[in-house]
Symmetry: C2
Subunit: 577 residues, 2 copies
């Protein structure tokens, strides 16, 4: 039960503000998150981590000497936006390139991936390493699909110690990947968590029961059992991890491993110690030497009651990186010389853009239509926000309506500003795209950013945009969303609507029908496709334990896309000539 | 809800075992608790802390360089026994004397006080400093009666830094007292906590309500209100503390203060940060400079949902001690050189006594009667354990029956061993006294230790013990219990029975009645007095929020004393000659 907050919407920002106020010796606030307050050696690789809020000490509590250089901090359980990641990485960069590392969740993969592209485009050498330690989230042969949980710490610590040692980006990336490949976690949960302002838990576990392998956002587990004794819990965790040894570890006997027994929020320290007592005995019996064990709360999920065990199978290369000193607000080990706190400040907001590329009269005219369309999107989402939230709560975390609202409003405002500067349709939509992705965060924010940007790019600022250009843009948007979202038709996502929409639009345009009429056909196809998603099952990652319950309910992202398509048709029909 | 345990009775011991297994770089297990695993400079004052389990990181998590030298660890919410404190202090002592410092709770005051006496008797210079920071637990003019909560950390840290600086015991004591005098805490709670194996919370707060000033074991608060916003909570905490400035701090403006925003168990980090955001603003507006603020879980109460704010008003003497480096499992600041871990081990058990003082034939005969009496006590307590627990649950924490059972069984076993060595009545009862106090812990354990020891001392090992000697012993026991327990007649404690019992016994003996007959009268007086305690209100400290509910229910300690008096009469009557 999360009780202490002001307004739920401000919770993540206010928590970050208070966190920084309490930890000025370690961190400094920058747009998008925090970076170290202590100086970093020039040329050192910057390790930038991040994710949603609600997992403290992940991620801001892990920023400091010997650990991360910066953390991008998203909203509650929502990934930071690509712009946030980009801003934090720029602030953390000290000339040696940037490693972005984070847990494997759809929204994070999207936004960190976009930030990586942007940084490389700007000439900052940047790579990503995704943490996939949760063995219950996919089979060994699909280990790349696994979620990242408390194993984050093993990968972050390894990468940061390698960076601190002055290794080049290639080596830091190699060692981070090696650490991830040799890290395995497994967890159990006894209760869900209640987000600020929510009147019900995000997900639940029946009283007296244990969900085996349940994800930290309620992603589906493997099975359910009665709450065990502490010793039984330890035996389940250890035996499960010893049964899936990583490549290169043929037998546990004689091995050395970093050990993390992680509490998820309301399993208390004494309980963790009672469990660790038995974990230590079992590892000893198996011939495994525990190196610098960590027992406590390292990656939490608000007040979720659960515990996970992580084994980080060390070798001569990894052990010194795991045991190297570190000094972050929530993670300290070894001895470091005292460090000065650099006074250097940061602007809380980036300077607003004041110029836009030259645009033709025709394109500026089309920009007015584009802005009207954005206004129509805002109205439609506003009308349907509650309905979208209800639909999303069935298979998602119920915040789709809020995210779409935040995103569409920011997109319209950015579009209006761009128009005021005389932007053409392409630039107007690209500004709107960035604003939507940045303000909304999460998966849908990123995907809508892609859609608007692709359409904007197809329209450009010089030609009079015709139906063919719009159709090219929508097709490119569908391709971009599938690529970035790693989703295909049938996964019960907006892709199930965007692909038929693009298809119908393309056909109608090929038949030579004018834009408004072609779009009408596309919107109709979208509406039918959205309804049809009710018969699909959501793919892993976005799914909740009661995913199957979502059969019969359409996907929220698919429904909002169909609603938007229809609203845009209204604008195009009105402009019809 | 505490879910992960094996057997509730073993919880505290197993948690300590797991804690040590996870923190071998910092601490080493010794009988009674833990001491630093790192070497301490010879001649340095040893700061020994302690208290019940269930408050992690208090107390074992605060042992390490720059913080405590050792911690005596009691059972769940029960003070460690005097013998535990004594053993830990002996292990921690490095020639500079010992400071025992702990929160102001009856059981801790008793046991640490006895340990202090024992250490001084052994030639180890020892003092105690009791922490009394919780302003809601007594009025300013009665500040010595206040409970110790998160302010423990301010006092422990100050004392330990002073010791680390090489100051002599007198100075360490003076600075610890000064720190306590300048430390104030105030807290609110939203829910109680559930102990391992308990099927109901130890105490509760109505859903959606906030108990203002509620103690960490459920001791009575000041008032109740609706759960506030985070900002409102911060405003209540700060304004209350600024309204009671310590002596020597006339105005907050221009002052520097250590700040501790403490979570009690299931208020999560992000919530604490949202509250701290406003706390920092308010302190700033009041002109108070926050020095090394600590925001997190420092003194918890299992899964109790609550938060407390502590202000430690610094001066030029105290600030360097507050900011000095420290490296304990759950508290680290600043930079310390790496330290070796001393391999030196400790026997888990003290060598059993194998000799007893010479005893006369008459005294050895009386010892047999004394052992029969102890056996009768065990039987009586065993029969009534559940009933005593039920009575205790009304105004106490419901563990009276368990404590009396553990204590009486240990006393009988120790008596049996002493008899095997040919002990007289005096020695037998003194061994029984130590065993009872050590095994039972808590307040009643200490008091029963006093009773048996006083009677044993009066009987001695040489004379044939007569009624007068027994009466002298019981009178001395009543005096000792009142002195040690700081309780008077009318406080609804065992004193309300022990005093009339001693009085009736003394009168009957003065009238020349034989022991058995005199004891019969005393037992009858005890039974009447025990019933009469139903009309009394428990004094603060042992009381629960629903203390007034205990009107109509007698005191469990009083009832068990009356039961024991009657059982002992049975033995004396049987021996009657």
């Amino acid at each position: 039960m999360t009780r202490l907050f002001n307004t739920p919407a401000a919770f993540a920002d206010e928590a970050l503000e208070g966190f920084v106020a309490a930890h000025r010796r370690w961190v400094r606030r920058v747009p998008g998150g925090v970076v170290r307050a202590t100086p970093t050696a020039p040329g050192q690789v910057a390790v930038v981590i991040g994710g949603g809020s609600g997992h403290y000490p992940a991620f801001s509590g892990l920023v400091g000497r010997g650990l991360a250089h910066g953390a991008a901090v998203g909203n509650v359980f929502a990934s930071p936006s690509a712009q946030q990641v980009h801003q934090v990485a720029k602030a953390a960069h000290s000339g040696g390139g940037v490693l972005l590392t984070f847990g494997n969740y759809a929204g994070d993969v999207l936004h960190f991936g976009q930030a990586e592209e942007r940084l490389n485009a700007e000439g900052i050498d940047c790579r990503t390493v995704v943490v996939t330690d949760d063995i219950s989230s996919a089979a060994p042969e699909e280990s790349a699909k696994r979620r990242g949980v408390a194993g984050d710490l093993a990968v972050f610590k390894t990468a940061a110690a390698a960076a601190e040692a002055g290794l080049p980006l290639d080596e830091v990336v190699r060692l981070a990947r090696l650490a991830n490949a040799r890290t395995r976690s497994f967890g159990v949960a006894f209760s869900g968590c209640t987000l600020p302002g929510a009147d019900a838990p995000l997900f639940t576990v029946p009283e007296g029961r244990m969900a085996v392998g349940l994800g930290i956002h309620g992603e589906p587990g493997l099975s359910e059992a009665a709450v065990p004794t502490a010793d039984e819990a330890a035996e389940l965790l250890v035996s499960t991890l010893l049964a899936e040894l990583p490549e290169g570890v043929d037998t546990p006997r004689g091995r050395r491993a970093g050990v993390i027994l992680n509490g998820l929020g309301s399993v208390k320290y004494e309980e963790l110690f009672v469990v660790y007592r038995r974990v230590a005995q079992l590892l000893d019996e198996a011939g495994v030497e525990a190196v610098d064990p960590e027992v406590g709360e390292l990656v939490t999920s608000f007040d979720m009651a659960g515990v996970s065990l992580t084994l980080f199978w060390l070798d001569e290369e990894l052990e010194p990186l795991w045991t190297a000193p570190a000094d972050a607000p929530a993670y300290r080990k070894g001895a470091l010389e005292p460090a000065s706190v650099s006074s250097e400040g940061f602007a809380e907001e980036q300077p607003e853009q004041t110029t836009v590329p030259e645009a033709s009269e025709e394109s500026r005219a089309a920009a007015r239509t584009a802005l009207d369309a954005l206004a129509a999107v805002v109205r439609t989402i506003d009308e349907h926000a509650d309905e979208l939230g209800r639909i999303d709560a069935v298979a998602g975390d119920g915040d789709h309506g809020i995210g779409m609202r935040r995103g569409s409003e920011a997109a319209y405002e950015a579009g209006r500003r761009a128009q005021g500067l005389g932007a053409g349709a392409g630039t107007l939509l690209c500004h709107a795209a960035d604003a939507w992705a940045d303000r909304a965060g999460g998966t849908s924010g990123a995907l809508w950013g892609v859609i608007l940007r692709q359409v904007g790019t197809a329209l450009g600022d010089t030609e009079r945009p015709d139906a063919a250009a719009v159709s090219r843009g929508v097709t490119a948007a569908a391709d971009g969303v599938m690529r970035l979202g790693k989703a295909e038709v049938g996964d019960k996502t907006m892709v199930d609507v965007l692909v038929p929409l693009a298809g119908a639009l393309g056909e109608a345009v090929a038949e030579g029908r004018p834009l408004a009429a072609a779009w009408d056909a596309a919107a109709t196809a979208a509406e039918a496709a959205a309804k049809a998603t009710a018969e699909l099952l959501p793919r892993l990652g976005r799914a909740r334990p009661h995913a199957e319950k979502s059969l019969g309910t359409p996907d929220a992202g698919a429904v909002s896309l169909a609603l938007i398509a229809r609203a845009v048709h209204g604008v195009l029909a009105a402009k019809n000539d």
